[in-house]
Symmetry: C2
Subunit: 404 residues, 2 copies
């Protein structure tokens, strides 16, 4: 056992992550699975939407000039010479005194240049009376008015919203090029861990970090390829670190400098341990490195430290590998401080807070082992190494533990 000789700053660790977590390659997914994925390329339309002039209302397609003067007390009568339905165009040609019954989305018949909405008409005996004048182009959707051929519809890097996927569908696109999802292996070490639902021996604790990390990885767009539970044993940890098939390995526990902390030296031997020990609280005993192309995050076993180290570094890497923004995936607002937030110059602090009527207050108990502090908190504040704490009455940015 020894202490950390020197600690990196949070910014140094983030810089290393940003340098090494570059977007993965692309893959095609069926459009039905594209929601939430990140577009790998600009999508340029190869067709017009709509592909033909169409009605924007249920009503009657007419020649607009012929409706001039129509009114409640001056209904004008037209002969109904056909019907145009969506997918079933009318082949009638609209000439003087004629109209074609038309539904929303149906193709405009030849000769007509406007649609009179059904609400201002009355049809009987093959004739329709129109009680409101209209103008050329009224209630007509023009070829390409939604999307014209050659338009860049969505840019590379866009995280696809439901309506984005619908726009791609409307262009007839069946397969969408998206950034691959980072494959994440979760490795939980510790001789003291029991699984929820199992009997627990006297000095065992129930394992929680795999459940924590699994939810966080899902939130950040990664795919959990495996969750391995390992004893504090060099052989098995090395094997889990070096096995192929993962873009990221998250190791929970054994990240510090104690006798049972094997992972840091294993990473240093098999690859590069770029960061070990960070000037922050909690999560100081965090390690970051890589083995070949796999990024490795050594996360403290204390659950709050594990959450905090994940969110500062590993989540950021996973989001960027998947083409997402590196930004914190939490909603942020500015709030008044109601009770002093304590910090120490020289380290970053991750301070869990609650929102009260008077502003935010830090949670009284906030040790790295008190996981319930993160469930009782509404969110957190990050205090920079320059901060000596934040006094009541000052404003501060709060990240909210939104329901994600």
């Amino acid at each position: 056992m020894r202490g950390f000789a020197a600690r990196s700053t949070v910014d140094e660790a983030i810089d290393w992550v940003d340098e090494h977590a570059l977007p993965l390659g692309s893959t095609n997914v069926p459009i039905g699975d594209a929601h939430g994925r990140v577009l790998a390329e600009d999508v340029v339309s190869t067709l017009n939407v709509p592909a033909f002039d169409r009605s924007a209302m249920d009503g009657y397609a007419v020649r607009a000039e012929e409706t001039s003067g129509a009114g409640m007390y001056n209904p004008l009568s037209f002969r109904v010479i056909g019907q145009s339905l969506p997918g079933q165009a009318s082949d009638a040609v609209v000439k003087t005194g004629a109209a074609v019954r038309i539904m929303t989305g149906a193709p405009m018949p030849a000769g007509a240049d406007a649609v009179v909405p059904v609400e201002v008409t009355r049809e009987a005996d093959g004739q329709v009376e129109i009680t409101e004048a209209t103008a050329v182009g009224k209630h007509v959707g023009r070829v390409g008015e939604d999307i014209a051929v050659g338009t860049t519809v969505l840019p590379a890097g866009r995280r696809l919203r439901p309506q984005d996927v619908a726009v791609l569908a409307s262009l007839g696109i069946a397969e969408v090029p998206v950034i691959s999802q980072p494959r994440v292996r979760i490795v939980v070490t510790g001789d003291e861990l029991a699984q929820p639902g199992d009997e627990r021996e006297e000095h065992q604790i129930y394992e929680a970090n795999s459940f924590l990390l699994r939810g966080l990885v899902l939130r950040d767009g990664g795919v959990v390829t495996s969750i391995d539970f390992l004893p504090d044993d060099r052989e098995s940890i090395l094997s889990a670190l070096t096995k192929s098939g993962a873009d990221v390995v998250l190791v929970s526990g054994g990240s510090s400098v104690g006798a049972e902390d094997h992972a840091p030296s294993l990473v240093a031997d098999a690859g590069k341990l770029a960061i070990h020990g960070i000037a922050m609280r909690p999560s100081s005993p965090t390690g970051i490195g890589r083995i070949d192309d796999t990024l490795v995050f050594l996360l403290p076993g204390n659950p709050v430290s594990c959450l905090c180290a994940y969110d500062f570094f590993a989540g950021r890497a996973i989001r960027q590998l998947g083409g997402r923004s590196p930004d914190w995936p939490y909603h942020r607002t500015t709030e008044m401080v109601a009770r002093k937030l304590v910090s120490v110059v020289g380290r970053s602090d991750y301070c869990r807070v609650r929102l009260t009527e008077n502003g935010i207050v830090p949670l009284a108990v906030s040790g790295a082992s008190i996981l319930s502090s993160t469930t009782r908190a509404d969110g957190f504040v990050i205090l920079s190494p320059e901060s000596e704490g934040i006094a009541p009455g000052k404003s501060v940015d709060v990240y909210w533990y939104d329901q994600s």
Copy 2:
């Protein structure tokens, strides 16, 4: 064909939804699948976390009073009589002059009342020198300090965050009681629809609404049980409406009062069509009702109307059935209006906007059929029936089409 005789207000439609969309029953899920689900019951702890006094640091467990006066120039020496590891307690009893080597999370040995961190120690030849005094309880995590037996850990209705699931795991809970996910059947009607990837005939359009709705339902916590594509045919639509196995049926297309709009009368005949025609723009031809216990939403085929009607009514129902908040699932901020938002008294408006340097501006093209208006927009503003529009320089609440 006829027009709508009278339209309901948006508030009337929402009131009907809120009255009929009550949370579904509960089900148990394995804890590994609990992330994002809504807790059906309060969870009360049946054990203490931690279940034993434990070290919060790597270091040496000692009797605090014996470290009095220790310092860099006055190291005090203790005999190392054992080692306590996580899951492997030491059976040594710490008496005068003795210390037990201890790791973070390991059980405190009998007799010791504080831990001296490894950073202020030096061990050699079975002795450890301590260069900093400590106090009783220092770096010791007490029984139940995270969660005490009998504490309500998480309340019913909580949407489970990653750390919530971890807290449940730390209590040994293997199965979690959650609200059932609403089962949603999507029915898309229309003779004019081609599937993305297929050849399209001249007056066909590519079907987009099923992709839109699928993403929205996923976002709101529903499960899409099936997506049926049907011709505008009463028999097949009735069968899709009345088939069992869905809590919600979403019908896209044929929701208005035209000749091909079969769904409204089918719902009225088979159950109750509570709302048909809403004073809003777009989405005016929306229907809402139920058949037995299944809520039915008749959504306009125009894609912007479909999105808007889903978000105002169907999404709200699905979220509430699943135990979530009825609130709009969009991040909201207050922004300055840079160009007039147009509205008409007597109807609600769903106005797509972009954020510019000077504030928000409405999208120039915003017809109900222009789906790309929702992908070019950054978000939307809802204008109430009382509004005559919002002038430049005024503030307004904007909902952002966040990446969901």
